[in-house]
Symmetry: C2
Subunit: 433 residues, 2 copies
Amino acid sequence: MRLLVIGGVAAGLSAAARARRLDRSLEIVVLEKGPVISYSACGLPYYVEGRVVSARELIHYTPEAFARERNVAVRTGAKVVSISHPRREVSLDTGERVHYDRLVIATGARPDITGIRGAELPHVFTLHTLDDAERLKRFLGDRRPRRGAVVGAGYIGLEAADVLRRCGVAVTVFEQSAYALGRDDGELTDFIRRHLEAFRVELRTHTRVSAIQEDRVDDVPCEIVVLAPGLRPNVEIAAEAGVELGPTGAIRVDERTMTNLSGVFAAGDCAQTAHLLTGRPVYIPLGTTANKMGRVAGANAAGAHERFPGVVGTSIVKIFGLGVATTGFSALQARREGFSPVTARIDAYSRPRYFWGKPTTVELVADRQSGRLLGGTVIGEEGAAGRIDVIAAALHNRMRADEFEQMDLAYAPPFAPVWDPLLVCAQQLLKNL
Amino acid sequence: MRLLVIGGVAAGLSAAARARRLDRSLEIVVLEKGPVISYSACGLPYYVEGRVVSARELIHYTPEAFARERNVAVRTGAKVVSISHPRREVSLDTGERVHYDRLVIATGARPDITGIRGAELPHVFTLHTLDDAERLKRFLGDRRPRRGAVVGAGYIGLEAADVLRRCGVAVTVFEQSAYALGRDDGELTDFIRRHLEAFRVELRTHTRVSAIQEDRVDDVPCEIVVLAPGLRPNVEIAAEAGVELGPTGAIRVDERTMTNLSGVFAAGDCAQTAHLLTGRPVYIPLGTTANKMGRVAGANAAGAHERFPGVVGTSIVKIFGLGVATTGFSALQARREGFSPVTARIDAYSRPRYFWGKPTTVELVADRQSGRLLGGTVIGEEGAAGRIDVIAAALHNRMRADEFEQMDLAYAPPFAPVWDPLLVCAQQLLKNL
């Protein structure tokens, strides 16, 4: 019995490792098209910036180490070009065919740069693979550009802006939508805009970039461009093989990460999942979700019956020292999903002011009918990750605002004020409800 | 209609403020026996140490400011010596009587130094009031003691040891039980012991101190002693007036913070509350709980119908740079409460190692039968507060370990590893269950 895994990064390797743990006798083969496996894509900006000195630090496993420790065959440079499910085999670009009994598709995603002319110019980069990061870092070191542009104000775009700025590049960020971070929240976007401006980074929303010139983007002269559009799931070979896609354009899977084809699972950035607040399919490609889905896919491919119920949409990014974290829905998103959102937003401190607390902004969104929390935002130099995770836990448990307000959270002056900003915001929310 | 509040610190002032907000016409009088109101007792160690420069920074409100902003009469130096409920009045030590229609008892607690001879010696201190802190700070500055002892290894005792050590005092901590932090957890105590030893602080458990000598405690020569025994609720005047106490020795209240006497509420360190994992009464005097209970007492005293359901027992303390946080039950406590505890303990990092993550230890306790989480511990230089709060949120919602493991927590390299230590520990716990 052979389990074949297409893709050797987060979801694929999680699947292989978990399947091996549950079934010692299964033959497991991982095919990765790139030259390396198991690297932290989220660490790339910090390698470009220099905080991470060697790209090797971002690689958790070499193919040899993973193969040895997990007893899994790992092949890099193995590019799958088609799947024939009736024959239970995949074809590589070399013409080689590889048989499978069970298949995990973990083909990931790619920056969606279709429709941007000039993307292939030598001063234009994406920040998706180790190779991308190496190229970008070399260019920054060799050319020392002074003016740059970033296309896309999602988290990768804002991290790229941060990196470029630290490398001495004046930056303009172009975003086609009205909002930063892919979150329909005007106040959050304004907050981010002001924060970026304090570091001399301009954010231009409502600005679609369809072409990169050699010396400028739009009217902004620049010597370097980073493209950080949204991610597009790598679903082509799956779709051609008859794997169903969902309304998000990513692979449709059930709670067990099974596709419509028997014995074929999909996980990670190529697959959609469910939003736990609505049950509806969403495409939110993140490393954490990829790892969790991969684990479940691997377990089920090895014969277990595990579930990955979905996500609440938690994310965090550090932008010029400031943690910006969101989970669940913004008010606008909540309204679109059919809720009647009520919000509260407060400015507080991460710790008592006498203990040098840092400004912390919290927003909570709840549904007027049920009183249930629907989402939240936490912004601050410290404590944003822990606080957003508490809101995420509340969303997972469908907590009402009045229940949330009475939570027994940790307090001591080095960590939090006696009324945590989360609880202060919940009190305000209860007044507004 | 007059609401009388006995006690002008956390619970008392929260009650007064909330009652005023809900009822503009109520007459509200706060009687505080001490010279100041509204100070952060938890900030006292940091004032002694010098990080907080002026004691004034620890005071949120002067009596005048609170009276003016909230339209509440505040009397300091007003010591209530008895309550006559049939007459609806309290007597002060001056003989004066003060009428009430509704009463909130927020008399707090005191360090339980009964049974320690020599507690009144001039080199012996507690760390409970601003006055205590002023005295201790002066003594440290004037005498520059070199050897000291702390009696009690609860959070105040360990904070005091930290402060003394920073002031150049070699410290021995005496604890009568087998455990530090009042948590029946041998591993946690060992961890704390080793951490203290790294800073040349000795922790002697199983050592009851019944007398302080002028120049030593037990066989340890010392020039300064801080007594940090447990807190004892100030219930005497309430009990004499017929207010029922609970099995914990603190005032028995229902979910509405009502005592057995009609129109008489109690909140804060003088009252017990319920443990949400068992529904049983507990006495866990903390500022956060005092504030929340006080708010509910004030609301209900003003005619509302609010509930304070209870606590899960969350706390955190910083000891020589290390955050030590616990919530719910340790395995031993869980067993005593009738559960079948299963634990998992993992060592991980607060962030990816390539992003300079700090060692982080997480322990989770779950019930074998139900799979529900019962408690947790997080220890680390960073992220302990946020992570313990996530576990606390899980306890509030009676989450099972398998649900916890799939939570959608925030990830980015500056904040957390892709598998958060909480989730890694939950995975281990599921294997052990």
